[in-house]
Symmetry: C2
Subunit: 348 residues, 2 copies
């Protein structure tokens, strides 16, 4: 224990290290970055890179291993002290410069402009934690105009889903009926979104793109409200509509990606769900519609408030074509089908 | 939301329900109780039962399903309100009486003596949470002299183990050496035992019985200090001695048990480990020795302080016979072997 550190601080630091252990141990996450960086080796070679929120410095070292000339590893927390040791342990002290500071507080006269801005800034349902705003500051101050964001694109998806652990589970708990407990459990639930693993078979429809962020262009203003459109989901199976499942995908400039959907290998982000107060039975082909907004909390900038509005699918705007079984969509599909099969004969 | 309940209280109550969901969803745990109760059906039939710390009331209902005449389901928390609803939902309101109170505060003139005292009181490394003391109060006040504790026996085991997530993991994190982070991680660790899943192949020896509790007889005094002997563990394989793994087993009067060792199906208790500051290489046949005490915390009665003392196996008392490769144990084994193979001929 160092002088001046209380046991409390030590525990905090352990908890912090524990979180980093969890993140490093998240194979799909760390492998996706490593793969993307290594596959883009020729672009990293002799380039200047900044790693925003470097943590223990692993992404900075990947960049150095890929041939970067210089990496600024910016880390605001005490982890920066450890990151410095990691850099030395891997003999990259001539390449990676750990900067123990907030990226917002750096002296722009001291740091050169960079070619690539690397960051693992994603939180639950992409934007929880609000770290992307710091990445935007770094981009605007330090990224060359022709530089690259790494990742470069982020996409947020949603789909209606079943939530057996919130509903069916309580109907028969080892032969005991606990519907009243399930009801109470759900009543206390919609106050905050839940992070959990949704099984692929519990999705009731394909995901729809709720928000699409070009990280080279996105602004704080863009991030203050995400989503907000109406989405219509044609059910791909019979089931119980019990919630909305949210996940994200980020894409790297080399074309590879880090997906976190129920169909992909589980990451520490899992999925995020909005739990409905009660079950709605749905049939294959039936349409489910909702609006979803994510509002950046004005008081706590690390938080988002998620607004979820169920819509009557009859009033919502459907895709064209839409695979649901509402008469207007059946007619539209038939019309399109006819014109695809029997295109007007050109009279040349 | 009920009048008078703040959002904070609601969150607490959700967290509480979440813990109960986790426990109910712990299959080996809930099935072990259900199996033990149902297999002992003839003993539950027409008997009076008390369930101490009934939670949502599931064990009380199992007892009612098994034919109990009367079940007192004692629950101090607000969950008692839900337990009452669960009882009604399962049509056992004539059998199960939910009592919303601490078992210590019940009026002994109102509650009759019971034949069987059921409780799921076990915490991490058996005694964390200190709920057993309340069970002892209930036993001394309400269990008939010829009555049964359910479970009836609890055993605490320990064995030396490897802890790859604390050691090997940091040697090569996706091609990056992070030994310095691992060192820091471990330095902050021994302050409290860690709850995690130990793989069977990471045990370096068979477990030894650290404490054995006959729940019909055990006293608060017995619980104030558990363990304290010297234990010698002959290694069953080459490996890295990096910690001590602790687990427990409880036994029911019907002979079935609920085990939580690394060899058994995972429960929410997982295992508890004491992490060593550094790795010690060991070879098959080599002896590892330590003392382990669990002291009930005088200030916070829900806690135990674990004292772990590494011993020189040369100075420790070995089993007779002991399968380690120290000369005295080899000689003892040879001596016993000779006398088993060539017993002295009786000169009749």
């Amino acid at each position: 224990m160092q002088e001046g550190d209380s046991v409390d601080e030590y525990f905090r630091s352990y908890e912090e290290l524990n979180v980093h252990h969890l993140m490093l141990d998240d194979n799909p996450r760390t492998f996706a970055y490593r793969k993307a960086i290594f596959e883009w080796r020729e672009k990293f070679k002799n380039k200047v890179v900044m790693d925003v929120g470097a943590g223990t410095g692993i992404l900075s070292i990947f960049c150095a291993q890929a041939g970067a000339k210089k990496v600024y590893a910016v880390e605001a927390s005490k982890l920066a002290i450890l990151a410095k040791e990691v850099v030395i342990e891997n003999n990259f002290e001539n390449v990676v410069q750990v900067i123990h500071n907030k990226v917002e507080d750096l002296d722009a006269n001291v740091i050169e402009k960079v070619d690539i801005l690397v960051s693992e800034w994603m939180g639950f349902y992409l934007v929880h934690e609000g770290m992307l705003n710091s990445v935007i500051v770094a981009r605007d101050r330090y990224l060359k105009p022709e530089g690259f964001m790494f990742p470069s694109i982020a996409k947020l998806y949603a789909a209606p889903c079943q939530l057996p652990s919130f509903f069916d589970f309580w109907n028969n708990v080892y032969g005991v009926s606990m519907k009243c407990v399930g009801k109470k459990y759900r009543e206390t639930k919609p106050l905050k979104p839940e992070v959990l693993t949704v099984k692929p078979q519990d999705l009731l429809s394909e995901g729809k793109l709720i928000a699409w962020l070009d990280l080279k262009e996105v602004s704080d203003e863009d991030l203050s409200h995400l989503g907000g459109n109406e989405w219509v989901f044609p059910c791909t199976k019979d089931g119980n509509y019990q919630g909305a499942c949210i996940w994200f995908v980020v894409e790297f400039p080399n074309g590879s990606e880090l997906p976190t959907s129920p169909m992909d290998e589980e990451t520490h982000w899992k999925q995020t769900v909005i739990v409905l107060p009660s079950t709605i039975d749905v049939k294959k082909g039936e349409a489910i519609a909702f609006k979803m907004f994510l509002h950046h909390d004005l008081v706590n900038s690390r938080r988002y408030n998620i607004e979820f509005i169920m819509l009557d699918p009859a009033d919502a705007e459907h895709d064209i074509p839409c695979s649901c079984n509402m008469p207007k969509c059946i007619v539209t599909r038939a019309y399109i089908q006819e014109h695809v099969n029997n295109p007007p004969i050109s009279r040349v």
